[in-house]
Symmetry: C2
Subunit: 498 residues, 2 copies
């Protein structure tokens, strides 16, 4: 029995409560808060953030962490808690409280500035804020950097342990070398898949019903979760009994369909975290990439799977008879998998998706490591879209202003999206060996698949790093070939390319 | 320039941020949080409450408060801030932190227990929790009580300064002596006002539209406020730029109509608080009674006023043609003012309303001062309804379990409802002398009335006590005769009683 560990608990409980309060403030801002509230509430978010920093980097916590090590006799879970708290202390202790608070207030407001700039297609209105955020991010990373460590590596480490610039360069170079020409082949292929019927007058009320039905069908538990509407779909969680997903409704049915399955995947991960980890520093996903692997898995390996629609498609037709009665299932499944390189990441097809991430990765690296000026972003962004996807944005809203991430200071986050897709493909290859994956889907049995993911991934929360979880589940280190093979096989087949 | 006052500000800012977080947790619980979340989140609410208590009663704050007094040179507003903080310190410093936290966790969960008991009409399922809450309340009051001070007086003081048992006994005795026989007269009168058309199949979608329209019409500002749905309508506010009201929809149109105007009145008060007081200890209503005076004023003096409906009634008919096309305005206005003594407080007509409060006041006094056993509540409750209103509840859900207040530990709160109504009547008498009140309503001009209330009441926040605000506005101390005269005149006329 480690006494210091026991004594540490009330501090950690309070820290978790502050975290939950901050999560709730953010959720509320995105889904409900009135327009004029934001700047006022930002002040309060700043004050709670400051209290959190003060508490977690305080002398008592630091002393107790040291005593924990000295006393020893800690379980694997307890060791993992200590590891996570120490990392948090390291990250925050080096930032002067006034700077941290100033930064937190900045990013509480910057979301609104970004949203308005996007609405007005006016990058210049956002550029000064973005510059401030980047400066803060670089400064904070420099505080944390070990000798010789690159700043962007420091940032990447916060989202995905072990995935450095060096390793990501290899990963993304491979994607670029293989997928850019493969996408080119598809664009030149004879196959002409129709998907016109996926856009149109889909009434919001039925879309709401669909969102509820689909998220429940894949296993999102509404007694421990909430579905709301926001401009940009996202998932958050107060704890494993309160996971919250959002969606949005538009004229594009596929957006409503796959946004909600995607976010439900995130939510199911949060709801699946073991109860012994709830409201601790381990009561969250293993990493951003691992989180994204689950949302992508639900969205693509399950939701875009032909077998998934066998028991469901008639229900979908019944919801939208005017639009879908004359469309057979094969046509529908081909349509939801149609490859159409576009400008908007969150509307991207599964194949071109990782090229959107490649672009962001390359630009972030330049911004952080090569002094790229913010003013040059829109032009470079457009050039890269032209080079990799063959299309060019006409204004900032469909270009550099489309993602909220940078406005929130999330530099180093984007690579997780591509890694997540690759993790998911490796899991999928493994599960297909162990179960009749498509057979289960055809029977409407999602729970066997979900329980497998829960057993190997979800319930462990943040005890283990993503690489280890993947290895323990699949018996192999991370291997991006599974992802490339999966994409080439699936889309080669769909488009008749060998 | 008082230096101690300046040094105090960061502590107060943090305290306000904790308060806002707690308000947001509660709002979220009532409007959105999933069923299983409550007990988990309660733990976090307990932790934030404990942090709040620790901060506000901490040595630094106490020392700075003393120094503020010594340094002097404080403005009226600054003095009022110090007064409020000192009162908060006094209230919390005497409660041992562990007890406070235990209590906060208890009341975070007790709302759910109460709601379930009410659903099952099962008082016994709630009684043990209620007993615990009363024990805590009495213990906390005993910590705060001055020598010889009654515990219920301590509780009352928390909601309405200056209104002791002695003064409230006089007030309620007067109401009882005059209103019980007056209500009896009305019940025996020949007048037969029809209001059947106010109940029926009112589609929720149109009710929503109505709620939005009415709250906006009376002046609730949606750029600084939110309207949501909850089981029990209520108002809360994070600050003066974020006031939140809820409503509910049922078969009773008058419930939807007047709930929303009532809560909009509360919300308009919060939105009207001066910006120089925002996010300070003065950035809230002067007292519970004063808050209720504003909601009652909007609900009754404005919303149930015949003149209010002159420019509005056709719009209401257009929203509900099937139900209201054949009903003329006079019939409608009589119906919304019909006196029907009922069992449910929040559905009570304006006249019998204060008798519902009288019953709660008498029972609270017995519970706190006369050792009334919780088990005896349902019987006594029923007896008093029979005596004062002439009807008897058949089960606990329409009796002792109908109000959420006791489950939240709000003992001493109910009298504010009756006081608020009486404050409102005194303001109304005063305003009728100074402006053509009904003429303004007929022109659809609410803003002149609202600005008058804002000038005299809202903008001052909590700088002044309710009695002083009332005196400064009306030139007179609180005088309940205005309330009795208002009720007797209005309802005497409606029912042809002299």
């Amino acid at each position: 029995m480690n006494q210091a560990y026991e004594q540490l608990q009330p501090y950690l409980e309070r820290a978790m409560a502050y975290q939950a309060a901050l999560i709730l403030f953010e959720w509320d801002n995105e889904t409900l808060a009135p327009a004029q509230a934001v700047s006022y509430t930002a002040k309060m978010q700043g004050a709670v953030s400051a209290a959190y920093q003060e508490l977690i980097t305080g002398a008592e916590v630091v002393k107790l962490l040291e005593q924990c090590d000295q006393e020893g006799d800690l379980s694997e879970t307890e060791l993992a808690v200590i590891r996570e708290v120490k990392e948090e202390v390291e990250q925050l202790a080096c930032i002067p409280p006034e700077e941290y608070r100033e930064y937190k207030e900045l990013v509480s407001e910057s979301g609104g500035i970004w949203a308005k700039a996007r609405e007005n297609r006016d990058f210049e209105a956002f550029a000064p804020t973005l510059k401030k955020i980047i400066d803060f991010q670089k400064k904070f990373a420099s505080y944390r950097a070990k000798a010789g460590q690159k700043l962007y590596d420091v940032m990447l480490d916060g989202y995905e342990k072990g995935f450095t610039i060096e390793r990501l360069d290899q990963f993304f170079d491979k994607l670029k070398q293989e997928l850019v020409p493969f996408l080119q082949q598809i664009r030149e292929s004879e196959a002409d898949l129709r998907d016109d019927f996926l856009t149109g007058d889909y009434p919001e009320e039925q879309q709401q019903e669909l969102a509820k039905m689909l998220s429940e069908y894949v296993g999102f538990d509404f007694s421990k979760g909430v579905l709301a509407v926001s401009a940009h779909p996202f998932t958050t969680a107060l704890h494993n009994h309160d996971a919250r997903i959002t969606t949005h409704y538009s004229e594009r049915l596929s957006s409503a369909l796959f946004s909600v399955i995607h976010e439900a995947g995130h939510g199911i991960y949060e709801q699946g975290i073991g109860d012994e980890l709830t409201q601790t520093f381990l009561g969250q996903g293993a990493s951003m990439g691992m989180h994204e692997s689950q949302s992508r898995f639900f969205e693509n390996m399950i939701g875009r799977n032909e077998a998934f629609w066998v028991p469901l498609y008639e229900k979908l037709q019944a919801l939208f008879p005017r639009q879908l009665a004359a469309i057979d299932r094969e046509t529908y499944v081909a349509a939801i998998n149609k490859v159409t390189p576009g400008l908007i990441r969150i509307e991207a097809d599964e194949l071109s998706y990782s090229l959107h991430i490649l672009i962001r990765y390359e630009l972030e690296k330049q911004l952080i490591e090569e002094e790229l000026a913010v003013e040059e972003l829109p032009g470079l962004w457009a050039d890269k879209y032209e080079e990799y996807l063959g299309i060019r944005p006409e204004h900032a809203a469909e270009g550099v202003l489309q993602d909220i991430h940078w406005s929130q200071g999330f530099f180093g986050y984007f690579p997780s999206y591509a890694l997540g897709s690759a993790f998911a493909a490796q899991m999928y290859a493994d599960m297909k060996k162990k179960m009749d994956f498509e057979g289960l889907l055809r029977l409407g049995d999602i729970s066997t698949i979900r329980e497998c993911l829960r057993t190997h991934i979800h319930r462990h929360g943040k005890i283990k790093e993503s690489g280890r979880l993947l290895r323990e589940m699949t018996g192999e280190d991370f291997n991006p070939d599974y992802y490339l093979n999966y994409l080439k096989e699936k889309y080669g087949q769909l488009y008749g390319i060998l």
